[in-house]
Assembly symmetry: C2
Homo-oligomer: 182 residues x 2
């Protein structure tokens, strides 16, 4: 675990907005905070990815409270913040160059939404050749209505997304597993 | 529709391999062929993306029959072929440079698997700023067992994937809609 970079995706107040609807994993933020505490205590590298939406109606748009980091997992002074404008944290940012300069370390990627910015970032990372671990309990999903009107509960969206990423793009795991002494 | 580039993803014989299990959309190949016929008749740009897997056990590995194009949608002499080694057709290939040289045209992306290489390519394209249309009936999905043992039928995988891509990454549509005279 020594060299792994912890990447937190979109841990911003916008995720408290009611527009996302019902969610799963109510402990996700606490679980992310457990990872963060461990990474800080070991002085391992942390990257806080922040979404600066360009959409006028987005709660993530800069200048609104939703753009601020959630207090529980907010960066400390000196920690790396990478601002992105699209879903993948690897596009239009200096994240690829930063990780390249660090020798292409393995990544632990967590945050929200699992099936949106987290998934886009995980897929992109894997396809760029990075080894990725994805702690399922440090991410969350929300209900999704499909194009035929069927409502998919958040936990179903979560489980299918994890299954589609497992092996192909990431090793799906848990916070407990990552923090277990080796 | 005049400037759109038609991108066919992984239309290779490996997709006939039994390892994928039950699938949906048995007419997907015919639907892709309908797009191809129209694009050829109008002399619009076509890109055949081909998967050259580096995994020893993959039916897509070069040198095996599975690596060959499916006859119904195989490229004609002179048509562009882009070989990739990962899921996204934008990583490790000259596709970004080709599309850049063409003035960043809108894309129509189809092929297989919807939730794997097609989705990775669609997400990547959208995050790079391309406008993407995704004809749902010119893609297919296969059954997926999740990490808790639940078996998701191919059509469910298809519908949830489309819902997660719609609006965020692509305009989900049909072959009929794309070919309808405007």
């Amino acid at each position: 675990m020594t060299d792994d970079v912890l990447i937190l995706v979109d841990q911003q107040k916008a995720m408290d907005h009611p527009k996302w609807g019902p969610r799963n994993n109510p402990d996700a933020e606490k679980n992310i905070a457990r990872l963060l505490t461990e990474w800080r205590s070991r002085q391992m590298p942390i990257v806080h990815v922040k979404h600066d939406s360009t959409r006028p109606d987005s709660p993530f748009r800069p200048g609104q409270e939703g753009n601020d980091f959630l207090p529980l997992t907010a960066p400390l002074p000196g920690e790396t913040v990478v601002a992105k404008k699209v879903h993948s944290a690897f596009i239009g940012t200096d994240l690829p160059a930063r990780l390249e300069a660090m020798g292409r370390p393995p990544l632990v990627i967590c945050g929200v939404l699992l099936a949106n910015s987290v998934e886009a970032t995980v897929r992109n990372a894997a396809n760029l050749g990075f080894s990725v671990r994805l702690p399922a309990d440090a991410c969350w999903s929300c209900d999704k209505r499909d194009l035929r009107g069927r409502l998919w509960p958040a936990e179903d969206v979560h489980q299918l997304t994890l299954a589609l990423l497992e092996g192909e793009y990431a090793k799906v795991t848990t916070v407990g597993e990552i923090l277990r002494p080796s």
